[in-house]
C-alpha cells in the first residue's frame, strides 16, 4: 500500500510548479495552463484523502469531479476573454494588458 504522503507530496510539488507557471509566464494561455496544473494538484489531494481517510470515500471524489468540471468551464470562459482581448489589442501577452494601473 502506497503511503498517502507520496500523493500529497506529489500534489504539493505540482501546485508549486503551477504557481511558478502563473508567476513566470507571460502568455495568458500559458498562465491558464499553469492554473490547470494547480487544480490538478487539488484534485489529487481530494482523491487521496477520500481514498485514504474518508470513512465514506465519496464527498472527496465528488469534489474532485466538480473541480475538474469547474476547471474545464473556467478554461472555456477565460479563453473567451483572452480571445476578446486579443481581438482588441492583438496580443495575448498579459504584461501588455496593463492600461489599468495605479
Amino acid at each position: 500500500m502506497i503511503p498517502i504522503e507520496n500523493f500529497l507530496v506529489l500534489s504539493a510539488l505540482l501546485f508549486a510548479i503551477g504557481f511558478y507557471g502563473v508567476l513566470a509566464r507571460r502568455s495568458a494561455i500559458l498562465i491558464l495552463m499553469s492554473v490547470e496544473l494547480m487544480l490538478a494538484a487539488v484534485a489529487i489531494n481530494f482523491i487521496a484523502f477520500a481514498t485514504y481517510l474518508d470513512a465514506d470515500a465519496f464527498s472527496g471524489l465528488v469534489f474532485a469531479l466538480f473541480v475538474i468540471t469547474v476547471a474545464a468551464a473556467e478554461v472555456g470562459l477565460a479563453l473567451g476573454i483572452v480571445l476578446r482581448l486579443y481581438r482588441e489589442r492583438r496580443t495575448a501577452n498579459v504584461d501588455e494588458a496593463n492600461r489599468l494601473k495605479w
Binding site: V22, V94, A97, K101
Partner: protein, 635 residues
C-alpha cells in the same frame, strides 16, 4: 449718614457714569452739571462721614465698630476658605483719602467745564471722570483685597481712557497704551501678592490678613515675598522706579485729568496701599527697606529730570514722581503719618499747579517753556496761584508742602540712614530749583513767542475759581498737622493724631531748628534757580551748552525709556518672533501638514504596487501566502 453707608459714595458717581455715558447726547450741556452736582453731594457726604468718624473717635473708640459693617458675598463657590466679599472699610487712612479725592475731583470738574468746553466727546469726558471717582472711592473704601484690585484696575481703566482722550493724536494713544501696560505689569505683582496672602490666610479681608500677618501666623520670608509683590503694584500705580516711565507720557491727556488722576489721586493709590498695610510692612523690614530705597532713588532721579524738561506739564509730572518718591521714603521708614500727610498736602498743591499750567496752556495753546514767558502781566490770578503752589512744592514755610516734607525728612533722619537723609535733602533742594525754573520761565522774563503772548488772556471764573480755592487749601492744608487746628475744626486732632493712632508719635509742634534747616535749603534752591534763570529767555537753553552730556542724559530721562524700548523691540518681540516662527514652521508645517504629507507620500509610493501586470499581482498573492505559512509553521 454714617460710615456704614459709605458705599453710597462710589455708588453715586458710578450711577452718573452710566447715565452720562449713555445719554449725554440727550442732556443739556452734555450732562456735565450732573457730574458736578453728584460730586458736590459726595463731598458733602464725605464731610458727614468725617464728622461721624471723628465723633466716634473722640468718643474714645479707636476703631468704630460700624466702620466695617457693609459687606456681601460677591463670589462664593461654597467653600469657606474661598469667599470673596465686597465690603467698605473706613479708618483714619481712608479718612485722609476721602476728602482729597472728592475735593480735588470737584475742583477739577468745575475747572473742566471751561477748559474742555467745545471739545468733542465732552459728555464722555465727564462720564469717565465720574467713573474714575467711583473707582477711586471704591479703592479707598474697600475692605477686601479683590475688591481693591477691582477698583485698582478701574482707576487704571479710567486713566487709560482719559490719557487716550485725544486719540486722534497717535502720541496720545501710545501714551495711554504705555500707561496701561506699565501699570498692568505692576498689577501682576499686586494680584500675585494678594493671592499669596490669601494662600497663607485663606481670606481676602484686609483686616483679617493684617491681623494674621502681625500675629506672625505667616512664615517670614513668605510674607516678605508676598509684601514685595504687593509693593510691586504700588510701584506700578505710583510711577516709582522702575515703572515710572508712563507718568510723564501720561501728560498727553487733558490737563485737568493730569491734575486729578496723575497728580492728586490715582498715583497716590500705591502710597495708600502701602500705608494700609503698614502694620504688616513693619513686620518685614527687608521689604520696607526696599520701599525706602526705591522711593529715594525715584525722588532723586525724577527731580533731576524735572530740572531740564521744557514742557510745563512734564516738569510737573517729574515733580509728581519725585514727590511720590518722598512719600515712599516716609513709608520706608515707617512714618505712615508723614506719608499720608504729604499725600494730603501734595494733592492740593500739585493739583493747583497742574490746573495752573492748564490755565496757561488754555490761554496760549502752548506748553513748551520756550514758547512762554512774561505771562504774569497777562494772567495775574494764574500767576499768583501758581506761585503759591510752587512755594508749597518747594517747601517754604506756612505753605502746605513745607510741613509735610519736613515731617518726612524728620522721620528719615530719626529712623533712616544718614546718607539717605542727605540725598533726600538734596532732592528737596533740586525740587526748589526746578520749581523756580518753571515759574521763572513761564511767568517772568520776556515773552519768547509774541504771537502766543498776544492772544494770552486770563481764564474765566470756572477755571480761576478752583485755582483760588486750591491755592487756599495749598496754603492752609499744612496746618492740619497741628492737633489744635484739628480740634478747632471739631476733629479729634491733627492729621498726625488721626494717622498715628497706633504709634505713640503724637506731636503738637515741630522742631523749628530742623525746620529752619529745611527752609534754608529750600530758599537756597530758589536762589540758585533765580540766579540762573531769571532775566532773559536765552538762559533757558543755556543748560544745554553748559553740560551737554549731562543735559542729554537728563533730557533723555536717564535713557530708561530707550532701554525699555530696546528690551521690548529686541527681546520681547524677538522672542515673539521666534515663537511665531516655531508655531508656523515646526508645529504647523512640520507637525500637522508634515504629518498629513507623510501619509500622502506613503500613499503615493504604495500606489505603484499596482503595476497593472497580472504576474506581479499573482506574485503579491504568492508572497502573502508564503509569509502567512511561514509565520503559521514557525509559530
Amino acid at each position: 449718614m454714617g460710615m456704614e453707608q459709605a458705599w453710597v459714595l462710589p455708588a453715586i458717581p458710578a450711577a452718573l457714569f452710566v447715565l452720562i455715558a449713555l445719554f449725554n447726547g440727550l442732556m443739556p450741556r452734555r450732562g456735565d452739571f450732573l457730574a458736578i452736582l453728584g460730586m458736590a453731594t459726595v463731598v458733602g457726604l464725605v464731610g458727614l462721614i468725617l464728622l461721624d468718624f471723628t465723633g466716634a473717635f473722640s468718643a474714645g473708640e479707636f476703631m468704630p465698630d460700624d466702620s466695617n459693617v457693609f459687606a456681601f458675598d460677591w463670589i462664593n463657590i461654597g467653600q469657606d476658605f474661598f469667599i470673596i466679599e465686597f465690603s467698605t472699610y473706613v479708618d483714619a487712612i481712608t479718612m485722609v483719602m476721602l476728602p482729597v479725592v472728592t475735593i480735588v475731583a470737584l475742583m477739577v470738574m468745575v475747572y473742566s467745564t471751561e477748559y474742555m468746553r467745545g471739545e468733542p466727546r465732552y459728555g464722555w469726558y465727564f462720564a469717565v471722570l465720574s467713573l474714575f471717582v467711583a473707582a477711586m472711592l471704591t479703592l479707598v473704601l474697600s475692605g477686601n483685597l479683590i475688591q481693591l484690585y477691582l477698583a485698582w484696575e478701574g482707576v487704571g481703566l479710567a486713566s487709560y481712557l482719559l490719557i487716550g482722550f485725544y486719540w486722534e493724536r497717535q502720541s496720545a494713544a501710545e501714551a495711554a497704551k504705555k500707561a496701561f501696560i506699565t501699570t498692568r505689569i505692576g498689577d501682576v505683582g499686586l494680584l500675585i501678592g494678594i493671592i499669596l496672602l490669601w494662600r497663607a490666610t485663606g481670606t481676602f479681608d484686609i483686616q483679617s490678613i493684617i491681623a494674621a500677618a502681625t500675629s506672625g501666623q505667616i512664615d517670614g520670608t513668605y510674607l516678605t515675598v508676598a509684601m514685595l509683590f504687593l509693593f510691586g503694584g504700588a510701584v506700578g500705580k505710583s510711577a516709582q522706579f522702575p515703572l515710572h516711565v508712563w507718568l510723564p507720557d501720561a501728560m498727553e491727556g487733558p490737563t485737568p485729568v493730569s491734575a486729578l488722576i496723575h497728580a492728586a489721586t490715582m498715583v497716590v493709590a500705591g502710597v495708600y496701599l502701602v500705608a494700609r498695610f503698614s502694620p504688616v510692612y513693619a513686620e518685614v523690614l527687608v521689604a520696607r527697606d526696599v520701599i525706602l530705597y526705591v522711593g529715594l532713588f525715584t525722588a532723586f532721579m525724577a527731580a533731576t529730570q524735572g530740572l531740564v524738561s521744557n514742557d510745563v506739564k512734564r516738569v510737573l509730572a517729574y515733580s509728581t514722581v519725585s514727590q511720590l518718591g518722598f512719600m515712599f521714603v516716609a513709608l520706608g521708614v515707617g512714618a505712615v503719618g508723614a506719608a499720608m500727610f504729604h499725600l494730603f498736602t501734595h494733592a492740593f498743591f500739585k493739583a493747583l499747579l497742574f490746573l495752573g499750567s492748564g490755565s496757561v496752556i488754555h490761554a496760549t495753546h502752548n506748553q513748551e517753556v520756550e514758547g512762554l514767558g512774561g505771562l504774569r502781566k497777562k494772567m495775574p490770578i494764574t500767576t499768583a496761584t501758581f506761585i503759591v503752589g510752587s512755594l508749597a512744592l518747594a517747601g517754604i514755610p506756612i505753605f502746605a508742602g513745607f510741613f509735610s516734607k519736613d515731617e518726612i525728612l524728620h522721620a528719615l533722619i530719626s529712623d533712616g540712614p544718614a546718607w539717605a537723609y542727605v540725598m533726600l535733602a538734596g532732592t528737596a533742594i533740586l525740587t526748589a530749583i526746578y520749581t523756580t525754573r518753571l515759574v521763572l520761565l513761564t511767568f517772568f522774563g520776556e515773552p519768547k513767542d509774541h504771537h502766543a503772548y498776544d492772544h494770552a488772556h486770563e481764564s474765566g471764573p470756572a477755571m480761576a475759581g478752583p485755582l483760588v480755592i486750591l491755592a487756599v487749601l495749598a496754603t492752609i492744608a499744612g496746618f492740619f498737622v497741628f492737633d489744635q487746628v484739628g480740634e478747632a475744626l471739631g476733629l479729634a486732632g491733627g492729621i498726625g493724631a488721626l494717622v498715628y493712632l497706633d504709634h505713640p508719635h503724637h506731636f503738637t509742634s515741630i522742631d523749628w531748628a530742623f525746620a529752619g534747616g529745611a527752609t534754608a535749603s529750600a530758599l537756597a534752591g530758589i536762589i540758585i534757580g533765580w540766579a540762573y534763570w531769571h532775566g532773559d529767555a536765552r538762559r533757558a537753553v543755556a543748560a544745554r551748552t553748559w553740560a551737554p552730556d549731562l543735559h542729554a542724559f537728563l533730557v533723555n530721562r536717564w535713557y530708561m525709556d530707550h532701554m525699555y524700548q530696546a528690551i521690548i523691540d529686541r527681546v520681547i518681540l524677538g522672542l515673539a518672533g521666534v515663537v511665531a516662527w516655531f508655531d508656523k514652521r515646526v508645529v504647523n508645517e512640520t507637525g500637522v501638514d508634515g504629518g498629513a504629507q507623510t501619509v500622502g507620500y506613503f500613499g503615493y509610493r504604495l500606489k505603484f504596487l499596482q503595476t497593472g501586470k497580472i504576474p506581479n499581482y499573482a506574485l503579491g498573492m504568492a508572497v502573502g501566502i508564503v509569509a502567512l505559512t511561514l509565520v503559521a509553521i514557525s509559530g
